[in-house]
Symmetry: C2
Subunit: 399 residues, 2 copies
């Protein structure tokens, strides 16, 4: 049986989906019993050198007017045109598979409802962790678990930069430049380096962990890596940890926590060994315990691999969702960042004594003469006290 | 809608499945829209103190005579009674979910065919990697990929022993005793320490990677850890690697490789950081690239979590497999172990010069004065040459 697909946006990811079809068509047919047929590619430009050049159209009606279309692959990105196309497809009962974290994290509630109303699927495995299977495992393989904690390195650009700073001893600016030259960072890196991309991905992961109670990106405090200095990285060895940008979620039953921030990850924690452009998501379930999913968080083929997993899900289910995967608007259950109590590390070179004094009452623990560990202090208090000490910086820690 | 299940074998894993039902019933209902109802527990003994005591029966007919039964959980283990029960259930069109790696790796071809003929499912996520989602991701999320390589730490007992030897500097015998005292090794540890358990798991993983062409455990060379000495572990630092029991599969297109053996894993490889009873499976796909799945490889609740994932798969599909997952007998495509060419490390304390001479022609590379690296040598030649040098030992390496 044939499954007809169209790709909207023939860029990095979209073209990868077509490439996989060329590369593994027979193997996919053998495994799924389905013929995946690429019928249309909608883009604003032509691709004369592509083996799929003949499929390229600039006319929406060629796509949306095709009564035989089963799946639309939305790899346009952003939440404007992509939003309109997705609504149009789902309204017509055409399933949509996407890698668009911005759209899913912003309009997921509406789009998933629209899909359900029209008996089709809206799937977004590729929106988080690139090629790493994480959305499907959370929904299906871990369905018997309540998700109590998620700690992820979900942005390859920032992890590449931090790894380069550490291994080559170069500054943030130099590392960013290197990432841009190697195609791992965009000309305007803001969304990556300021933690906005990670914030969107954590919004998606948190919503699933909250069993569909929508956690908007706006509820997630996001701090990036652009203010990090080389000596923050050099401090890794002193605390036997690695400074990484961590997307963190925790749900202890009474109130949930979700934020993105630079975090010293203990070297005892496997997450600390995730380097370069790789991503990893650590998930704690109340039955499974700790688990981790690791792989390439970006790139043409890895991301296309995840998109294809969803295409095949649509293929084997004829687009009918196997279980309810709706998101619902809900009064935020996310504790305001300022109120969150956490264990932190405070740095002030060669002035630990000063820090010990400032944090007395929290029984701080001095680390050499350059830092103190402070347990269970609210972010607001940490901020306030550090503001009063010239040069003091505080960081999250993950054991 | 209710899904009626029965548990055969109320031991470690079976009881965990019941416990999860108590613990997360509402959450499971909310996520899947299904009521999972435990109707029968078949065991040879009673469990008067269990909250499920009333469900326990010694009579097969209470289970197989129940027309409303949807799923049987086979957590008996072994390939004798479990084999008979599984055939009986599948013949009646009752789906079977199992954690039984011995049965799946031995009779998978027949049992999967029987399930298909009777329009039901035979699922075995929990048979490999305990709670780690690996079977479903291989079949579904990675379906767009040809699997080119699998390297796994799939036996928690041996990994616990090797970790204890390294961290506490104790002998193999002491570490084994400790593992037994802590319940991580059985009184008769043979299946674990001789690599038989890992061999069965690799048989399952390899068969899936070969797209259903059955790789029998008999085709997989298995070497355990019982002959390892403390100085083999102490050597870790010299080569910046960790000695682990690795289940290895590779398929380069012309012929596949599959074996279980102690292997020095480079510290650059994330797999080297997997310690204690944890398991991890590294999977390379031709689109995805490298990925890794990590978690608890054994234990009541983690394994029960994986079993439950399969129960819910049956629940949402009414037991009808979504895609063909048959295994087929096939002339072995596994290259005989002796013929396999690999990069190896050969150790002979303070006699590297002797090794260099013995392996000349393979341009060996001396490591200090205690070992040499030899690239692309057949296992047979490695064996033959080492046999001629008193005290020389060779090991696999994984970069």
């Amino acid at each position: 049986m044939a499954v007809n697909i169209a790709i909207l946006g023939f860029g990095t990811v979209g073209s990868g989906v077509a490439d996989i079809l060329l590369m593994n068509k027979d193997s996919i047919k053998a495994k799924t019993g389905k013929d995946i047929v690429l019928k249309h590619i909608k883009d604003i430009v032509d691709f004369p050198d592509s083996p799929f050049a003949d499929l390229v159209t600039h006319n929406d009606d060629d796509v949306f007017g095709d009564p035989e279309l089963d799946v639309i692959i939305e790899t346009i990105g952003g939440s404007r045109i992509a939003y309109e196309y997705t609504k149009r497809a789902l309204s017509q009962g055409i399933s949509v598979v996407t890698s668009n974290k911005e759209l899913v994290s912003t309009h997921g509630v509406e789009l998933l409802k629209l899909a359900e109303e029209n008996g089709c699927s809206y799937l977004y495995e590729a929106a988080v962790g690139g090629g790493i299977p994480i959305i499907q495992p959370l929904y299906r393989d871990l369905a018997a678990n309540k998700i109590t904690r998620i700690a992820g390195i979900v942005n390859g650009t920032t992890n590449y930069i931090l790894t380069a700073m550490k291994e080559e001893g170069i500054s943030y600016e130099e590392a960013l430049k290197q990432a841009q030259e190697n195609g791992y960072a965009e000309a305007d890196p803001t969304a990556d380096v300021e933690g906005i991309d990670a914030q969107r991905k954590l919004s998606i992961l948190s919503t699933i962990a909250m069993e569909g109670n929508y956690v908007s990106p706006d509820e997630i405090h996001a701090e990036g890596i652009s203010k990090l200095a080389l000596d923050d990285i050099d401090f890794n060895d002193k605390v036997q940890a690695e400074l990484k940008l961590v997307a963190y979620f925790e749900n202890n039953g009474n109130g949930a926590i979700a934020y993105v921030a630079p975090t010293y990850i203990s070297r005892r924690n496997l997450l600390s060994s995730v380097n370069g452009v790789f991503n990893a998501v650590m998930v704690d379930g109340n039955a499974l315990g700790m688990s981790m999913y690791y792989g390439q968080g970006a790139g043409t083929m890895p991301t296309a691999s995840a998109v294809f997993g969803d295409i095949l899900q649509v293929a084997v289910t004829d687009g009918k969702p196997l279980e309810p995967r709706l998101w619902k608007e809900s009064d935020s259950k996310i504790t305001p960042y300022a109120e969150v109590k956490a264990d932190i590390l405070v740095r002030l070179d060669s002035k630990a004594d000063e820090l010990v004094k400032a944090f007395e009452g929290y029984s701080p623990l001095a680390i050499g003469n350059d830092a103190v560990m402070v347990n269970s202090i609210s972010h607001a208090d940490a901020e306030k006290i550090c503001a009063g000490i010239d040069g003091a910086k505080w960081f999250h820690v993950l054991r």
